[in-house]
Amino acid sequence: MTQRVEAVNDFVVKFANVNGSGSASANELFAKAILRMGVPVSPRNIFPSNIQGLPTWYEVRVSEAGWLGRRGGVDMMVAMNPQTFAQDLAEVAPGGYLFYDSTRPMPDSAFPADVNVIRMPVTAICNATYEDPRQRTLFKNIMVLGALSALMDIDAAVIEKLFSEQYRGKEKLLESNVRALHAGREFARDHLCPPRGPGLGLRVRRAEGVGERIFVDGNSAAALGCVYGGATVCAWYPITPSSSVAEAFQKYCEKFRVDPATGEHRYAIVQAEDEIASIGMVTGAGWNGARAFTATSGPGVSLMTEFIGLAYFAEIPVTIIDVQRGGPSTGMPTRTQQADLLSCAYASHGDTRHVLLLPQDPAECFEFAAAALDLADRLQTPVFLLSDLDIGMNQRLCPPFRWDDARRHDRGKVMSAEALQAGQPFARYQDVDGDGIAWRTLPGTHPSKGAYFTRGTTRDPQARYSEAGPDYVYNMQRLLRKFATAATLVPPPVVKPAARQTRLGVLYFGSTAPAMDEALHTLAGQHIHLDAMRLRAFPFPASVAEFIAAHEQVFVVEQNRDGQMRRLLVDELEVDPRRLPSVLHYDGTPITARFITQAITERVLALAVAPQGARP
């Protein structure tokens, strides 16, 4: 008897398609339909660096318990791409299901014994139903969706409602999609579902697991955060996976920032000629008192480093959204990674240090984008929002966006004409209250007071060019004080204490979070308890060093080859590296709960045999 995976509201379905075939929207409908039935879902696109014709995958994790990270393993593969058939088949878990287009049927011997095969001659059905070649391709995916909905008990009415929202005002499209959906359902009922066929052991059942949460991608969220955060200037250059940040910002500005009376645009978006011009424009705008940002990825940050150094040393507010992807160099443009930590934290030659914000999901992308604009103005320095492809380009279930109407943007220490006129002393690079942040003036403020020269060269506190050693050292020390102030202003880490007292801890950040949440739960079930701290920014607030000091071993889990966060911790906090074992995942796919669980289990067992580290 073939084993069968049987699961309700707890499984992984992976769609293998050819990109450019219309599969993306059908796959999104699948995910959204399950969400609308109250079951948490987290879908992930694994797409090629190409426009049309190459393999693309869409992996959907369904989890009533609410685990939103990748689990690892595939319970059902919907294999619609002949090109990748062999590898897709190999990914199916024992007892899992392979759904494929049997228009060109394969013999039973082509399939391993522990895979349950579900056959639907989709192409043949489509060719019989439609004349137009475009329709034949597009509706293939909807028919498959229909068949799956019947097999898995996904409510057809839910899908029809989604269609009606998608095709509002386009009655013909709506009608043909609904027809394709039901054609697929009928086929499944007549050939695949019991009693005609063995059916599918993976089922969806209505639940109350979604609540108030929203379903949105990180890039859109970051763009919206920039709108709420008061950005008026955006200069950018297209690069995967950050282009949709600027595009979303454009869309939201058209909706929210057009003066209804005059039609004027309360924003300026320039698609510059390259990343250097982009950051140059942001620097000029920030210098002149407008909140400005750019969005890019690793290669763009490399190009921008000269300007980042200028903004650091001349102390100009600048916000950079880096949606990280696989590096180095052109790397893996459509794969995720957390590999820009060091290049952002220490961007540019000489002694520099920059503020990094590390969101875990779209809700934090929104919150931290607005926070970045405040911090850049307050600290007069570059602030990076370090997102990644996994968060930025996938839709994620997350808490709804929140904004307090009483909130005011923090414009920082900008001296007004009134203050200058009243005789308030002004020295552009003088620390007046110990936080390391000097006052600045904006161009055009006062006829005879407050003007100064901004340069990337060394200076005295009055902004006069000075090559004197003490002036330079004063300036550099003040910048360090400013960075220490930043540590008190950035989002603090979030601690999840273990259920039991433990000497073990784990540090993680960003898109690792959902997989880590699940791994911690699984590990606890295996009696491996770890206190967890999710880092949300650099510089590290004092609690980070305290957390490390309170544990014998703290695993640092991250998605890059060289343990960049671990290096930052060791360098900045002067921790003994032997206390911080690395758990690294960096093949370009988002880290899975199983990977973390396995890696930590192995290491904990090794520690049990050979304990490390000095006893306090």
């Binding site: 979604v210 949460r213 320039v270 000029g284 002149n288 943007h409 003007a451």
Partner: protein, 351 residues
């Protein structure tokens, strides 16, 4: 250059302009450039132009790249905010600054190294975009601050101070600007203040990007026999195509170019030299005609100076982006932030 501090007291008879400022109010710090440097003359022309136009000095933002010419903003308009950016990237910073506050006047100072080598791309895109600015390149064919390497505008065959010939063809920023659709294109000579001042005034009043390439000989590294950017060479080969006498738009006075007229150029070591011959029939509103003329003169090894092309109806990037009259840097939460209610509706649409 001198080491004397500038006098703080103004002579009571110094003339005041329409906003009550004397010429001194438009000056900056003492120049640290070499004695006889052409760039100092350009700075003086900027001071003169700004004073004559009665601009309030603090309502100007002056930006530059890196190089000798990029140092000059320190030597004029001391009451204005200045920004010495990075090599070749002044246009992008100026563009961003301009977007933030459309009410200020933007001067971009650059050199031929800054704008024709590393900055060639940003120069080109600033011209294309039509950012409202005065873009002045102080062109001496050499990298002065790093001690005498050729720049991309140095003519092929011209020799460096040590006798090394330049093998590459030159970049002509004026021709490029014309081809890229720039709406105010001029060339002048640092020794010809009478020509420079009206050109700068016209540039300040212009509604789009105004570009002036000013031949400004380097006395230290390029003003020797064999250089095509020396005082001697320019004197012998220059031909002024039009002469504008710029006046404020209110009084409608226009000067006509006079054929055969010349102006006197000061030389280092005393004496004067004739520079400009006017073309009576040059039409500065004919872009193609201007480009042809430039090429023809170039073939003869000559440099045209004057206002080569202008589109008087030109508009700028702010117009294209439909930004509000109130500068972006003065908008606050009330108009920038959509509010909690709008966010709740957005959330609802995302479920």
């Amino acid at each position: 250059m001198t080491y004397l501090a500038k006098p703080r007291l103004h002579h009571p008879s110094l003339e005041r302009n329409a906003v009550g400022y004397t010429r001194r109010d438009y000056e900056g710090k003492v120049s640290t450039l070499c004695a006889g440097c052409g760039h100092d003359s350009v700075s003086a022309a900027i001071v003169q132009a700004a004073w004559e136009l009665a601009i309030e000095p603090h309502r100007v933002a002056k930006l530059s790249g890196i190089g000798c010419s990029s140092k000059t903003p320190d030597y004029f308009l001391g009451a204005s905010h200045g920004f010495n950016t990075v090599h070749g990237r002044m246009p992008s910073v100026l563009t961003g600054a301009c977007l933030a506050n459309r009410e200020l006047l933007y001067l971009g100072l650059s050199g031929d190294g800054d704008s024709a080598s590393i900055g060639l791309g940003q120069f080109a895109h600033a011209m294309r975009r039509g950012v409202r600015m005065v873009y002045i390149v102080e062109n001496n064919g050499v990298y002065g601050l790093t001690k005498g390497q050729f720049s991309a505008t140095a003519d092929r065959g011209s020799t460096s101070k040590k006798g090394v010939p330049n093998p590459d063809a030159p970049v002509d920023l004026v021709a490029m600007a014309m081809q890229l659709g720039a709406t105010y294109v001029a060339r002048s000579f640092s020794g010809d203040k009478a020509q420079m001042v009206p050109l700068i005034k016209g540039a300040i009043a212009h509604g789009g990007a105004a570009f002036i390439d000013i031949i400004s000989p380097c006395v230290t590294f390029n003003n020797h026999a064999g250089s095509t950017r020396s005082y001697d060479y320019v004197r012998e080969h220059n031909e002024a195509v039009s002469r504008i006498d710029f006046f404020d738009p209110a009084p409608a006075v226009q000067a006509e170019p006079a054929p055969g007229e010349a102006i006197d150029l000061p030389q280092p070591g005393g004496g004067t030299m004739r520079l400009r011959r006017l073309h009576a029939d040059h039409d500065p509103t004919d872009r193609v005609g201007a480009m042809n003329h430039l090429m023809a003169l170039h073939e003869q090894g000559e440099i045209a100076t004057g206002l080569l092309f202008v589109d008087p109806a030109a508009r700028d990037l702010h117009h294209a982006l439909r930004t509000p009259a109130l500068p972006l840097n003065r908008l606050d939460e009330a108009v920038l932030c959509p509010g909690a209610a709008a966010l709740a509706r957005l959330n609802a649409a995302l479920r």
